[in-house]
Symmetry: D2
C-alpha cells in the first residue's frame, strides 16, 4: 500500500487503542480464514499445501505479522470437506509496538472451534 493510502486507512482507526486495533484485525483474519476455507476438499495428500496456502493467503491481510495453520485428521484413503473442528491456528498481529497472539482450536467441552486471544504484548 502507498503512503497516502496508508494514511486514509489509519484515519479510520484513530478511535482505537493499539491493543483494540490488534484484536479487531485478529478477529477479522480468524473469521475470514474459517469461512473462506471450511468446506474445501481435504485429504492427507493436500493437507500440507492447504495449510501453507491458507497461511500465505492470510498474510495478505492488514497487520498480519505471522500465522501458523495446522489441519488435524485429514484422512488417508478418502477425502472430506474441511471442518472447522479440524483447524488449529496461531496468529500474530502487530500494531506499532503492540503484538497480539490469537488462537483457534476445537474445545471439546464446548464442542466448538473457539477463536480467542492468547496474549497481548
Amino acid at each position: 500500500m502507498k503512503l497516502e493510502e496508508n494514511q486514509i486507512f489509519n484515519n479510520y482507526f484513530k478511535n482505537l487503542s493499539d491493543r483494540e486495533r490488534a484484536v479487531f484485525e485478529g478477529g477479522i483474519t480468524m473469521g475470514a480464514l474459517f469461512h473462506q476455507f471450511v468446506g474445501a476438499p481435504i485429504s492427507s495428500k493436500n493437507k500440507e499445501i492447504m495449510e501453507k496456502s491458507i497461511e500465505e493467503s492470510m498474510k495478505n491481510q492488514p497487520c498480519v505479522e505471522d500465522i501458523w495453520v495446522e489441519i488435524l485428521g485429514a484422512p488417508k484413503d478418502k477425502y472430506v470437506s474441511l471442518d472447522g473442528n479440524m483447524l488449529i491456528v496461531k496468529l500474530k498481529i502487530k500494531i506499532n509496538n503492540t503484538t497480539a497472539i490469537l488462537g483457534l482450536k476445537y474445545i471439546k467441552e464446548l464442542d466448538y472451534p473457539l477463536m480467542y486471544v492468547e496474549e497481548i504484548l
Copy 2:
C-alpha cells in the same frame, strides 16, 4: 448455550477488557460474513432475501446484538457473483455494558471494502 458452557467460554476472555472483547467479536463476525457469502449468485430477484439471510445467519454468532446488511448494485437482467465491494454492513456487538458499532463499506479512495469500528459506547 447452557450456563456452565457459558462460563467455560467466558474464561477464555478474562484477559480482555469489554471494549477489546467487543471489537474482537465484531472483527470475527465481519470477516466471517464477508468470506462466507462473497461469490454467491446475486441479482435483484434474490437481493432482499440474501440480505436478510446473511443478517439472520450472523445473529447466531456470539455477542451479536443486531446487524444490518445491504447489497448494492444487484443487477436486474442478469446475475453476478456477490462482490465484497457491493456490501454495506452495520453491526452491533454487546459485551456487558459496552456496545461496539462496527461497519463495512467500500472506500473509493482505497478501492477496498473496509471493516472499521464506528464507535464504542
Copy 3:
C-alpha cells in the same frame, strides 16, 4: 440475458446433447451450492430463511428450473457451521425439451454427501 448474449452462450454448448448439457449445468449448481454455503452459521432460528435463500440464489444460475433445499439437524440452543451432511437438495434443470432431476443427500454407507442424477426426462 439478452438474445445476442444468449446466442454467444449457447454456441459454447453446441458439442453437447441436451441430456449432457442438463447434467453439466446440474453438476455446476450442486458444486456451487455446497461450497458456497457450507460453513455458514446455522441454528433452528435461521434454518428456514437459509434454505429459501440458497434456493433463490441458485435459481439465478443458468437453466435452473426449480430447486428445493432442506437443512437437517439445525440445533435449537446453539448454532453450528453448516455441514454438507446436513443438506438435502432436489434440483430441476431444463434444456429445451429435456429435464434432469438431480439430488444431493448424505449416504450413510459411504459417510458422504452424494450428488447424483435421479432421472432425465
Copy 4:
C-alpha cells in the same frame, strides 16, 4: 475408497452414459472450485501457491484425472479478493475410456466467467 464403497457409489450412476457422468462430475468440480475459493485474499505473493493448492484440493474429487489453475491479474503492491473473472481452469475428467476436457474462463462479450466442455474423447 474401498472396493465395496466404490460399488455403492457407482450404483448411483448406472443411469448415466460415460459421457454424461464425465460432464456431471466435471460440472461439480467447476462449481465447487469457483465457490470455494472466490473471495480468498490474493496478491502476486501467494498467487502460485494458491493455484497449486486449488489444483491439489480438487484432485480429491471423484474422477478428476488432472487440473490446471491459473490466476490472472494478482496485484503486486496490494491484495484483492479472488474474483471469478481472474480464474482460468482446465480440467480433465476420466470415466472408464471416456475423457472430458472442461474449461473455465472469463468471456469478455458476456462479462461472465464461463464454465464449458471443450471436448469429450
